[in-house]
């Protein structure tokens, strides 16, 4: 349906890459909920991953995903990638609630770099402020999720070479939680389904 209107962005494509395969789900949002457009799993050879289930064969992975994207006519679609929880760092920091988002991001970056001394690994991260009941509290709980920038950039580059536009990178556990109650969805597609439920960002 979205192809009829050239000004309307295509729906988000949920993508989870694990040694079991690359799960790919695309949903169309309707008034009642979601309409399933595509749901498929691309089998992946185990050589693409190391012992810690991190991706190592980016070129081959890109080729496999490209074939499927072209076959389904999904080239140019925005994509939301699910990262396995073991590949990310999930932290909780206590920071001043008076900090702006930019100041808080700068503080978190410093904290993350100090934690990886002496390597000073660069991290891509996102955070969310947890609601506090005490409005006069001096510190605010901040939920931080971080991933090594080098690894994330390689994955984004791999997916974009396959013809998709990466818009969202999230954690598989949050995506599965969002997809709870999805009707008759196979467990290996659940995280991709949950990722595809998010809104397409304007940018």
């Amino acid at each position: 349906m979205y192809k009829l209107n050239p000004f309307r962005a295509p729906p988000l494509l949920g993508l989870e890459i694990t040694p079991k395969g690359a799960a790919l789900v695309q949903l169309q949002k309707t008034r009642r909920g979601f309409h399933l457009l595509h749901a498929t799993t691309i089998p992946l050879p185990p050589e693409l991953f190391n012992d810690e289930t991190a991706i190592t064969g980016f070129d081959e992975l890109s080729t496999l995903i490209t074939d499927q994207v072209n076959r389904l006519g999904l080239r140019g679609s925005p994509a939301a990638i699910c990262m396995p929880q073991r590949q990310v760092r999930i932290e909780k920091y206590w920071l001043s609630p008076e900090l702006s988002d930019e100041e808080m991001a700068a503080d978190i970056e410093v904290i993350l770099q100090q934690a990886t001394l002496p390597f000073q690994e660069s991290f891509s991260f996102d955070f969310t402020r947890m609601q506090s009941k005490d409005r006069l509290a001096l510190k605010q709980e901040v939920f931080v999720v971080a991933i090594k920038t080098r690894y994330l950039s390689a994955i984004i580059d791999c997916i974009e070479r396959a013809g998709l536009k990466v818009k969202i990178v999230e954690v598989d556990t949050f995506a599965r939680e969002r997809a709870q109650g999805a009707p008759e969805m196979a467990p290996d597609l659940l995280a991709a389904y949950g990722a595809a439920m998010r809104e397409v960002p304007a940018w």
Binding site: S124, D126, V145, A146, K167, I168, V169, E170, P201, W203
Partner: protein, 172 residues
Amino acid sequence: MVEINLYPWRNELRQYQETVTKRLCWSALFLAMLCSGGIEGWLWRQGSLANERIMHIHDEISQYAQYEAHLHAGSNQLSIAELNERMGRLAQTAQFLSLLHSEPDADLCFSTITRKDNVILFSGQSRSHADLNKFLHQWMAATLFTDIHIDEITEHEDGSLHFRFQGTENAV
């Protein structure tokens, strides 16, 4: 529900907002220029129309002035000539009436005296041809006419005459 996006979306969002802002600024500028150009064109068109109207009015005024001058000059000449002529006619008529009044012994009577331009038509009755001839020879007012022409004489059974003649007035 935690909404985390590890993609560097803040940079993307900032770039997107900058792009949108630039587009809006350029669009506003373009729209303003378009409106300004449109208004300027409309004003220029109105100005040229107003100039055309002014030129037309000037033409009308000059034509009217020429016409008025011509009319004024013409009317003066006509009125002076007409006035002179009418004054002459009036003087002649007054003299004619005065002479008519000064002849009480005439043995005829005029029934109608009418004027047509510079010709005066007389009609009336007399007792005989002799009375009519005598009157015409002695008529002092005959000096006011260049010529007198008898048009009709009708004789009744009792010998009386019905006559009609005309006299052409002297030039004024």
